[in-house]
Amino acid sequence: MSKKIVVTGLGILSAIGAGVLRNLEALQLGETGICQMKYLESRHKALPVGEIKFTNQELLDMLSLDIEVILPRNFFISLIAIAEALESAKIKPREALYRIGLIIGTSVGGMDKTEKYYDRQVNGLSQGKLRNMHLHDCGSITEAVADYFGIKDFVSTVTTACSSGANAILMGGRLIRSGLLDVVIVGGVDALTLFTLNGFDSLQILDRELCKPFDHHRRGLNLGEAAGFLVIESENNALRRSGNILCEFSAAGNAADAYHQTASSPEGTGARLAMSKTIQQAGILPKDIQLVNAHGTGTRNNDLSEGIAIEQIFGDNVPYVSSTKGYTGHTLGAAGGVEAIFSVLSILDDCVFANLNFSTPMQELAFRPVDRFLESAGIRHVLSNSFGFGGNSTSLLFSKYQAL
């Protein structure tokens, strides 16, 4: 019996648009979604951000649902992205006879609503509405989403900062391999909030201009928001129900950098271990990989440690390396999900998306990122990296599907 896990559905909402096709278009054209802040009501309006270009009301209209706008933004964008993923996988959870789970990676949960509660409470407008807080915790969004779609066999929420989405995907894969589930909807979601915007700015790692991943002159990251979800399932289940197999989810590796709460170790220990565990689990060699979708946030620290780790793993044969954060911004808990989708698209379209805003190579590294869109790139295996605060490092491997 095959133990393969395959990807059968994708759904996304990001700064570069609603839906997989719109995102793919923007990636192919090299069009960024990072621009002037328009939706978040922050006093730091000068910071470029990768916002989803819809208000909460517009998102509600897209869902054509009669529910309160008062619910957190993460709820709406998750619904839209997961609806697309389920539609593309042709799965209706309420009608399915197989076991379906939902694992969401997030860092802020319902924080955008909690902020509004505090705002009223603290700044003396009428008593803050307590009901703004009831979906504050991260798991509440997952349960609201699960209840909406009728998913019951397993629900959980991963909160490992910037690697949350990737770890949700990793865990989903493990549950399928262990025989506990047949299908899992996995990925991540994080809306932009005053909390994260000010939090990251307080650490002085935001670029006041467009971020420059792997560039010598990089100054920091741009924050973004997104919801990115995949449907993964056992190959057996996909074949049995004649699902549309997009590619294989071949392996995943997770390691702890164990160096510092927010900075990565100079040698990129966590990154190196995560990548190496993944490659080992897949039973392939580094030279079999054609593309690394890097974490590549554009901070001085990450790009250096990740770059060093990549060179340690690949030696003289560094494959194509590209960060897609120049399109979407760093979407925190969603990043693992969003970038897994972009990795799958690279396989399906046999292409490499340009690493935007690159002009000067880093002195410490021998390789440079791919700075233009490449077609017919011969992509068979893509490694997707997500490294978070707390030292959580996760890599995922997606591969061209070989039918039995």
Partner: protein, 344 residues
């Protein structure tokens, strides 16, 4: 389960000392709650370090280190934590600062410490453990998710020792969130807090407290579905209800909230099985089931029930061997879990 899993150590900070009989009750105008009996942190952590730590982080670190020590190993191979609300005190500090100052004052330390995986990250840092590391924040499944993750990790990767933990802390914002969730309708319904760490291991040793035979999480079941789930679980575990020696159940003490589970247990387990209601000792919080598991493991190991539980005195006098213990948790009638343990 495909491999043997044992609990080889427990580190615990709770409102009860498991050797004693007193629970630390705390009063506020509107609610009564259970506050932890805190240890001497300096036994494991230098004061100059703990000074900068939030309370939940201190509790988590201490319990984790204590657990590893008691397991008799140098360091775990993986660290997985469950926490319902994480480091909410620091979240509140940061939120308050940015709101009051109109986004001018942004204390970076509060932001960094507010991130949910701070605890699992700091434990990894302390032990320089580069192994698998994750954090789950999913209400009454936070700890169970960590445990399922650990068990499947042991099965798949032939790892020996995985440190898992469940912790949550009562703070002002926690109470507010709880109020927002409209939890506290009843006086008997105590909220609590705690930090519980356990070492799951594929290898039995002299210090092993008990064996984990299986576990299951059930989400948002109707009554009939929960009945079926429990029956199937016992069937899969090949254990009849007559073999169960002890039930360790997470009733919260509110008859309305407890009704569903109570009726299901009466239906599926109609015989009189001795029962310990663990939330009388630890209170209700997202990761209370971790305490329930630690309590059950401790009972199986010592073959003694803490004096605090009335039922305990009766059972201890009877001197019957406790071979099998079933832990059942429910959180807000949406998150249910079963864990079956056996004596080593």
């Amino acid at each position: 389960m495909k491999v043997n899993v044992f609990i080889n150590g427990v580190g615990l900070i709770a409102p009860i000392d498991l050797d004693g009989s007193d629970c630390k009750l705390f009063n506020r105008e509107d609610i009564v709650f259970l506050k932890c009996i805190e240890p001497e942190y300096k036994i494991y952590l230098q004061p100059n370090i703990t000074r900068r730590m939030s309370r939940i982080l201190k509790m988590g670190m201490w319990a984790a280190i204590d657990c590893v020590k008691k397991s008799g190993i140098e360091m775990p191979e993986a660290i997985i934590v469950g926490t319902g609300l994480g480091c909410i005190e620091d979240s509140q500090k940061f939120l308050q600062a940015i709101t009051e100052s109109f986004e001018q004052m942004r204390p970076p330390t509060a932001f960094i410490h507010s991130i949910h995986n701070t605890i699992s990250g700091q434990i990894a840092l302390y032990f320089r453990c580069h192994g698998y590391n994750s954090t789950y924040s999913h209400r009454g499944f936070s700890f169970e998710s960590a445990m399922v993750d650990a068990i499947t990790l042991i099965e798949e990767q032939e790892i020996t020792d995985v440190l898992i933990g469940g912790l949550d802390e009562i703070t002002e914002p926690y109470v507010e969130c709880g109020n927002a969730e409209m939890l506290y309708g009843h006086k008997e319904y105590l909220i609590g807090e705690g930090a519980t760490f356990l070492m799951l291991s594929s290898v039995e040793n002299a210090g092993s407290l008990c064996k984990v035979l299986g576990m299951q999480m059930i989400y948002f079941p109707a009554k009939s579905q929960l009945e079926v789930a429990l029956c199937l679980f016992l069937q899969e575990m090949e254990i009849s209800l007559f073999e169960l020696d002890l039930l360790v159940v997470g009733f919260v003490g509110d008859s309305e909230v407890d009704r569903l589970l109570s009726e299901v247990l009466n239906t599926v387990l109609p015989v009189a099985i001795p029962m310990v209601r663990y939330k009388q000792a630890c209170g209700e919080y997202h990761t209370a089931s971790a305490f329930g598991l630690a309590l059950a493991a401790s009972i199986l190991f010592r073959q003694q029930i803490p004096r605090f539980f009335e039922m305990g005195n009766i059972l201890n006098r009877q001197n019957k061997v406790i071979d099998y213990s079933l832990i059942i948790n429910q959180y807000r009638n949406k998150n249910f879990s079963f864990i079956l343990l056996s004596k080593c």
